[in-house]
Amino acid sequence: MRGCDSAHYKPGIPGRGLQDEGRDVVMRIEKSDIEYLKDSGLFDAEWYIENYPAAAAIKIDPAEHFLRIGVRLKWNPSPRFDTAAYLAEHPDVERSGINPVLHFLRNGSVTDAKAPTEPSAGADADEGRSKAPVGSPGGTSSEFRTSRPRRNLTPDMQRLLQAAERSGAARRADATYDAIKSEFDPAYYLLRYPDIARAGIDPVRHFIDAGAREGRDPSPAFSTRYYLNRYPDIRDGKYNPFQHYVMHGRSEGRGSSPLTPASPAFGRYCEAFGLDPKRLEAELDRKRRDLRERLDGGVLGDMVRRAEKLEPLVGHAWLAAMNPGLSPIRSEQVLSQMAAIHQLQEQAARRRAKAIVMIPWCHVSGAARVAAHLATALAGIYGPDEVVVVRTETSEMQFPEWFPAGCRHVDLAGQVEGITAEGRQRLLVEFLRSLRPDVIFNVNSKLFWDALEPYGKALSHSARLYAYLFCSEKDIFGRWAGYPVRKFHLHFDLLDGVITDSHYLADELRNLFMVPPERADRLWTLSTPVANPPAPAPVPAAGRRRPQIFWAGRLDRQKRIDIVYALAERMKDVDFRMWGKPGLDKSSSRLQPPSNVTLEGTYKDFSELPLAECDLWLYTSEWDGVPNILIDVAAAAIPLVGSLAGGTGEVLKDGLTAPIRDIEDVSAYERAIRGVLSAPETARKRAADLRERVLSERTEAVYREALRQMLDRGSDQ
């Protein structure tokens, strides 16, 4: 035995460079110490280089590196010796500056009970058992066994695990226990459920007896609650859920937690990106195991332990580290969002767009028609391929023919399964920004309106934003609601332009919100064009026939079918023919139509109607913008009697139609109708004049030019 003072080290002093002090150590190393260390079996050069790659950067013998430098940094010579732990247990060695490994070699075999008795941890891991390293508290027990090195666990945790092992060893025979034991993660269970650790009971036994029932998880890879919720067929209690998974569920392809191939989000993700779910799962599993091994017994965990000595709070995240997030497979929500944006970009043909039109859906509605006119005008300005129409609330696309040929359609509503309302807003915003558009128009997309609140400012830096407003709505209690009421004041400052289809609404907004004159040019009224002007409707043949009054619209409260029915009761000599279907508001559908009312159902196109039989068109809405049906009727030169409500007066011109100012006055409607029926030629002449006026004011060219002006103004600003 040689003297023990030949090799010294000094711990580093934070806040000062260490190199000068280190040189002092370098001078004291003797060649014989290096050889002694190499021969001791406690130094593993290959392991040392692999775990401390910095050592390889200096071209000296690894053993010499350890003695000169590594020991100062409390590095280990091999998995079999824990330098830091040895020094912690032998403060006299640390104070004296003696090399702890040499101290152990020269004194430990006689005075210390921590002599190594088994091969290195690396070999143990392959054999399914290991010995804690010399120096570490775990190394004091010859009973300690585990499936992998756990030298980075705290001594207390190791003691708890040993107690658990002993408790488990004394158990009675139990099929469930045997089935799950090998996959049960006692360290995870104890750390996650400290009550079990404090109780000092076998965690496996606890899980079988109570834990599963209480929804506790036996390992980070298995969620008991998820499994029971996802697979109700095993709730009969025949199997412990984890046992079921281990024995049957896994081979049946059942998922152990949300981020597995059994999850719809996981499946959507793999499908969108052409990934093999099994391969991805295997890769994730491999990565988790590798991480856990390196945390429990490798350099990674050692780094954490060292940091924990500087900041104890670091150690409180060990539990989180046992179930780490593996980006990007970290949440079902994000997986679904990633899959969705990929699919949306595919639908957009992976090309940019200059103009985007947001719509909720496309079915029979005035807003959808306006959106189609807008898209057509934008196609005329930018080119059809530069226009993308996005449906956000439902996938409905009943009238693709309304939109310009060559524009791209994207069904966002069809890609949002599993994504929260907030997540959909973000999805929409990121998709829109990825298109790199110049302009974005919202035509009644609720999702877009909602997304403007959190993301509007950011979005407005990427594109000019415009929004259509049509008319406010009255709720069932008579209170005003709808986008003009709810959204105008929130987003007017953000938007480059607010578009109305009626001067009426623009004026109302201007007055109600006191829009300052300098900002008034952000409010635009674009008169909805007549896309394909119909020929004047034929005049019904003269002769003995009952007059026919046509009406069309949603059969709901707004359209006031009660007024139509009241008129029909008064005018039994006239037939009322009504087209439409109930909307969301069913409060009017319980009304019984009088015998001279015929509910004709729906039509797809105005031209399908038997207009040659129509003597007069009746309109009874209580509130409105400029409804398309009025424009269609006017363009067909059919005499009109209708309520003045909101923007309807922009078609129901005095002298050319019979506008009703007091919309509740049924007698007024009756007088106007009888006036038209009694002088049909005059009425037709006026209708023809109205047609001429509407067709000259509401052309696609006029609309496009107004739109262009608005866009030019926006780009100037």
């Binding site: 806040g15 940094l73 940091a307 994000v334 969002q337 957009a348 973000r426 990825s434």
Partner: protein
Amino acid sequence: MSGFDITVAVTAHNESVVAGPTMRSAEAAIAEAEAAGYTIERLVGLDRPTPECAQFFGQPDLSAWSLSEHDFGDPFRVRNAIAERASGKYIAFLDADDLYSENWLAMAARRLDEAERADERVIVHPELNWIFESSEVVFVKPDQDSYLFNPYYLYFANYYDMLSMAPRQALIEKPYGPRDIQNGFGYQDWQWNVETMGLGWKHVVVKDTVIFKRRRAMSVSVENVQRKAVIRAMEPLAIDRVNLLKPTASSLTT
């Protein structure tokens, strides 16, 4: 410019004793890097420091650190300023309340050395983000060319955060953008990561290294979440460019 290998740049604003563990971890990592033969420049950038913060970093035990004071109110602009004046070939930032793993500097520099020899433009990050204190989360970051890396994630989340070691050249070529939370923009680190990817810098992680990130009840990142901040729209994330962010494997199916 003198020849330091690494500039360690700590940024602080209102941190005082909470930076104790930070500085000790930095010194431990520096010691290991020096043991591996690297020379280190120690810089601290104080941004509108509170009196307590200035007092902390002015203490004698930190005399090896060179202090600079700034008036940005934006830690990323401080980083840009430090990058301008740094003498190190590589720059490693550290927030004054976070901790390095002891091996970070040495192993990160070694990886950048390898990249330089291979004539690659590489920025390195720790393998783990270990979040502690007011929330405890650990997540693992993938290499940009790994099987798990998917560029579409960058629309919704950041893989790497601000903790990186980068050649000074990368920071000069692409400084961090300004903070603009009033207009809904945050996450300058996320933005910088995407921008540098777009410029051909490959982001990789260094095995067995960790950044320990202290999550405080109120911080820039918490404010970003609360205000639903996003990164700016950028060319690399355009519909026809995003797939190019996966550098080696041309598609996720490979």
